[in-house]
């Protein structure tokens, strides 16, 4: 049945609110494994040894299996203890809303992220950085600057400050907020030092 509209985050909430009650245990140990297994058999998904698939039909079957998995299983919200459900057409409406290209960063340091469709000659965006790994406060800026100065790196992914002003940045405390905002400032400082102030972080 044609979808009325794509599902925005508000509609998603409503679906969770009206969703079927499910225990987290049942979701993790029964529903997910069983449905994933069922989809594998239903669509005969078998990868064999090759890392990259070369069988076009297998790839398409995998896509449909994913869609079917989403429709059959839904998504679980541990806070509300419910699972939402979504129709196939609604999924495709949602995918149409997704952007095809994005501009990351500002000014001359901006880079564009466009759908590549296959192994085209256009290289993907290279996002360099500690990728969330912990970094000492004393060298944080230098660490990020060393990525920003790499020509192959287009955008920055930050590391994590373990301490701020020498104080542990434990989660869910004001120290974490202070540390995160320091990270943002140090990232900006690093991109400026590397002469690429408009780099996306």
């Amino acid at each position: 049945m044609t979808a009325r509209n794509y599902i925005d985050v508000y509609e998603t909430y409503d679906r969770f609110a009206e969703g079927k009650k499910v225990s987290e245990k049942e979701w993790d140990y029964t529903i997910i494994p069983r449905n994933a297994q069922m989809m594998k058999e239903r669509y005969e998904i078998d990868f064999g040894r090759t890392i990259l698939p070369t069988d076009q039909d297998l790839v398409d079957r995998l896509f449909i299996a994913g869609v079917d998995m989403l429709i059959t299983t839904g998504i679980f919200n541990p806070d509300l203890g419910t699972a939402l459900s979504i129709e196939e057409d609604e999924i495709y409406e949602g995918l149409k809303m997704a952007p095809k290209k994005l501009k990351l960063g500002r000014g001359k340091d901006k880079c564009s992220c466009k759908a590549r469709r296959g192994n085209t000659l256009r290289k993907p965006v290279i996002q360099g950085g500690p990728t969330g790994a912990p970094v000492s406060e004393g060298i944080f800026t230098q660490m990020i600057e060393s990525y920003a100065q790499e020509p192959t790196v287009d955008t920055i992914v930050s590391g994590v400050l373990n301490t701020v002003d020498g104080h542990p940045a434990s989660t869910n405390t004001p120290w974490e907020i202070k540390a995160t905002m320091a990270e943002v400032r140090y990232n900006r400082e690093a991109t400026r030092r590397a002469g690429r102030p408009g780099m996306c972080i």
Binding site: Y29, I32, P33, L52, F63, N77, R117, Y147
Partner: protein, 221 residues
């Protein structure tokens, strides 16, 4: 998806921010084997766009035993998932890098290069790395890993899938025997000059020898 996630999304969505959703399925966890994990990865990636209105999805299938993204199975999950979505949609797909070995080691560079070849060839739009030493050890990440990620990716662009498969299979076989005793590598301070921010000679030599190995495996850049 929990309520704080939903509420933050609501704010960003309302303000028109660029939203990236990161979701890293664990291969060998609840979702079981590579195929089932890939199916769930496809489903969850689609949901990130269709249900949670993100603009770009950051994947990162991780091995339950090794905690890395560069094992054969997790590369397989990432590749199949990416191509399933890439063939059927224009969605913007990213992937993350968690290597077992630490910086200033050939293994770390080979792991990174292998994943870069796979992600690039499977049509992904963004590569985000590198969390060397599994992203858990303080100061054990350097930009040399990001450099090889970028250069390997550029080299892979346009190559055929079977060819990439042969090369990657070759590269992976060079390091998958060391999972129990991976080289821990060096901290940033030990393989970079902090003041003028340049890699040490040792790291440059390690980088060059990694390039030689990659060349033996069939890829030059």
């Amino acid at each position: 998806m929990d309520m704080s996630g939903l509420n933050m999304l609501a704010g960003w969505h309302g303000a028109g921010d660029i939203i990236m959703i990161e979701q890293m399925p664990i291969m060998g966890g609840y979702t079981g084997g590579p195929e089932e994990t890939a199916i769930c990865d496809v489903a969850a990636t689609i949901a990130s766009f269709a249900l949670f209105n993100c603009d770009i999805h950051l994947d990162g299938p991780i091995h339950i035993r090794w905690g890395t993204t560069t094992t054969r199975e997790t590369l397989q999950v990432a590749a199949h998932t990416a191509m399933a979505l890439d063939y059927n949609t224009d969605l913007l797909l990213g992937n993350q890098y968690y290597t077992l070995a630490g910086p200033c080691t050939e293994m770390c560079l080979l792991e990174t290069a292998a994943q870069a070849l796979v992600d690039t060839a499977s049509g992904r739009e963004l590569l985000s790395g590198v969390a060397s030493s599994k992203g858990t050890v303080q100061d054990k990440t350097t930009p040399m890993e990001a450099r090889i990620m970028g250069e390997a990716s550029m080299a892979a662009c346009g190559m055929s899938i079977p060819e990439i498969n042969r090369i990657v299979d070759n590269i992976v076989s060079r390091y998958e025997g060391n999972y129990l005793h991976p080289p821990t590598g060096k901290r940033f301070q030990e393989c970079y000059n902090i003041h003028d921010l340049v890699p040490s000679d040792e790291y440059l030599e390690t980088y060059d020898s990694a390039l030689r190995i990659l060349s033996d495996c069939g890829i030059d850049f």
